[in-house]
Subunit: 485 residues, 2 copies
């Protein structure tokens, strides 16, 4: 795959000049027509041999395309806020909006390349990292993020000569990084690492293209042509299937709604379990963990009241409540999970979600706001997202607060009668209620597909609010105690 | 001011119950009618004596108002990303959008209160911090952020009894923080500090209200009533005047447009100055500083090309380019400088702005997108913003690239002819050009009012692009050398 690049092909300045007008005009047109109008975004991943002149890509693309819609995303050492979150957090955070282009340096390939370049690379680590990248890129591609990956390459000899030429002039010597000077000594290993990474992560929806880089003119031309080709011929989105499931168990239908607590019992139990939660989150050990609490359930099931009973046990400086409603335009312009990745807590903190990323497989599914292909693949994406949180030390608990159909009706009516609760009841709630069975089916499938060992669902009857509140606080206390002891 | 609160007034549970319906209904209505419809946001600052039950405000307001539009903003120890930015950065970052309410714990009063509580407080520090707060709150108030500040207070005796009562029950003992137990010993000093802070920062547009807190019922009622009153009777925005200026000097008119560089001289000078920039930003000392570069100028003055000559000298992992265009809805929903505060670089990084916060006093002034009162106060706000950056270690340079009217016309025509440059020329550019004198006047006033010693303007002739590019890179190199040597 490196044969052409290592033959160090060259081009005259004149032949680039001759093509420049055509290429710039076409690139601009493609940027508008193929990206902005088509509601896609583009990520250009820049990688390759050190000292091949990768950096010139930025100025090239910013000069030849409309720079108002391009951002360079360069990832060096993780910043303090990045270092305390799951490794993929920084990349999610910076995803460009639809119509925009990101030029990515120091991308998610960093850790994989570092391992592959070692003298004795660990095959398991390499495969695990490649697998994570394949998942990530497939998810992005399915969510209308086009990915094209450039590998800048040249021969050992040309790389060395380029570095020495720059070094010889005191005004260009700074362009040579120390690592550039050692490339020729490790060239075979670097080439082998590159080959391996490309082979394991090349995909129709996220292809690798090798750019010969010994010659500045040819590198320029090839880079521009590659980006143009990518814009003009966007690949088909990958098809991500959900695993088959013979029959979805009716977990909601099997819930016992008989549990009741009287006021006195409620108050003493609640206070006792809150105290246990309070003790756990104030432990030193918790400073290295985090807690993610998801609250879902039918309308009027009592999510807000339950959340307040949890936060009563927390220090106000340590938690955030995210009220999730319909995504706004700048959220819609990114892959679905983007807005939730932004809310991933740092260590020592607690994130409560009043509704959550599960909206994809609940309201968006039932109300047909997401295409079937999109919500169907969401189960796997969500499990993967939560697994990344847990792998980084988060304790993830998910609550489904369930009421019966009759109880919901009673609460709707009570809300309508109350002068200060009627804001909580809208035509939408009544509409949702008419789709009770559809929501139940969606909830059951969600429970079946995303109740994982690392991020379990707790389905609780909330016909008696006191029961549900104490149960939720109890399970949080017990999960914390199990995780921290 | 604490007389009533220290008399520890009490209220029966029944009398709160009796008022609850009225208050909740009124609060909700006010939240919708007075905040959302009126395009304002509300910050409720929570402060007072430790162990006065301040924390209960969160659940109270989230239960009595519509919690979807309320966020708790609690600031503890600065997070790593906050610690490396100017102190006000964290507060700017979290400002709620219009229509929304933020409940602020551990607010910008923290440092002031800490100083005021010391045994021997430093009067100069206190006044400097109070002054910074007055500026900040006046700017927010002028930008449609309503501020109400609650000081929770009770007598020494009542504070002690409250802590002891909670401590006596093992299920509530966790609610008592160690600091709560020492309050009674330092009560006079804490009261004196509170009094001082309130006196120095009370303003019509950002009033302090003392909430008696010995009794949970009365505290609840008073808090709700205070917020309701604030929503119903929003104060007038403060009038912030710009200092008088007899005559604005015509700095643009006095620029020498004769400077020219031939190609050879250009290329060698540029390379040499780029190398000096490159050396400076790679020094260890720069890792504790940051660099903020602003590029403004007439349309077609060559901002983009100049920026690319600067970035050629930088490591891609160390800089960010922000292309500033018209604010989008979620930016418009916050005070003007919010979107720029978010782009403040951390130490060791370089932020380049292709157009900037100066849009307020340029395009927004000329095109009447901002009210006169708003752009007039912007000069002071901008100087203050930049002063905060510089105080925190940033090196701030601002460039005005100037072309003559004829040269602009020639460039517009050239852009129209070029198949890959005509995207850069729009009807808006021609419209702006017809307002040449208005823009010149706005630019001159901007230069006069914001050319500060800490963040100087460099007005450069860009009739010859080569000259402007070399000059810009040279001045950056020299500023870096002066700052780091």
């Amino acid at each position: 795959m490196f044969e052409e690049a290592e033959s160090d092909p060259r081009l005259s300045k004149e032949s680039v000049k001759a093509q420049e007008t055509r290429l710039r005009t076409a690139l601009l047109k493609a940027q508008y027509d193929r990206l902005q109008r088509a509601d896609r975004s583009l990520l250009i991943v820049v990688a390759g041999i050190d000292g091949a002149g990768k950096g010139a890509t930025i100025n090239l693309l910013n000069e030849w395309m409309d720079p108002r819609h391009i951002r360079t995303l360069a990832f060096g050492q993780p910043t303090p806020e990045e270092a305390v979150r799951p490794p993929m957090w920084r990349y999610w955070n910076e995803l460009p909006a639809k119509g925009r282009t990101g030029i990515v340096f120091g991308s998610w390939y960093g850790p994989l390349l570092r391992e592959a370049r070692r003298k004795h690379p660990d095959e398991d680590i390499i495969e695990a990292r490649a697998e994570a990248i394949r998942h990530f890129e497939a998810m992005l591609a399915a969510d209308r993020v086009q990915i094209v990956k450039l590998w800048f390459h040249l021969s050992r000899q040309a790389q060395r000569e380029r570095a020495e030429r720059l070094l010889a002039n005191r005004d260009t010597a700074w362009q040579v990084a120390p690592v550039d000077l050692t490339v020729h000594k490790r060239f075979d290993r670097l080439r082998q690492a590159g080959r391996q990474v490309i082979e394991r992560t090349h995909a129709g929806h996220a292809p690798w293209i090798v750019v010969p880089s010994a010659d500045d003119e040819l590198r320029t031309l090839r880079t521009a042509e590659t980006v143009l080709h990518a814009l003009r011929h966007p690949p088909a989105a990958p098809r991500i299937a959900r695993p088959p499931m013979r029959r979805v168990p009716d977990r909601l239908g099997r819930l016992d709604h008989g549990a009741r607590l009287d006021k006195e019992e409620y108050e003493s139990s609640l206070l006792a379990w809150q105290a246990r939660v309070a003790r756990q989150v104030r432990r030193k050990k918790f400073a290295e963990r985090s807690l993610v609490l998801v609250f879902e359930g039918q309308d009027a099931a009592g999510k807000g009241g339950t959340i307040r009973r949890v936060t009563s046990a927390l220090d106000v400086r340590h938690f955030d409540i995210t009220q999730v409603s319909a995504p706004v335009p700048y959220e819609l312009a990114r892959p679905y999970l983007w807005r939730f990745w932004r809310r991933v807590p740092e260590p020592g903190r607690i994130a409560l979600f009043d509704r959550s990323w599960y909206g994809r497989v609940l309201v968006e599914r039932v109300e047909k706001l997401a295409a079937p292909a999109d919500w169907r693949r969401a189960y796997g994406e969500i499990n993967d997202f939560e697994a990344q949180l847990v792998a980084h030390g988060a304790i993830v608990l998910k609550f489904w607060l369930a009421v019966t159909r009759d109880e919901q009706l009673a609460r709707f009516r009570e809300r309508e009668r109350s002068p200060f609760k009627n804001f909580k009841i809208t035509a939408e709630d009544w509409r949702n209620r008419r789709r009770w069975d559809d929501y139940a089916q969606a909830a059951n499938e969600m429970l079946a597909r995303t109740d994982t060992a690392h991020a379990p669902w707790h389905a609780l009857s909330s016909n008696d609010k006191r029961h549900a509140r104490v149960e939720a606080v109890r399970r949080i206390a017990q999960a914390l105690e199990a995780a921290l002891d």
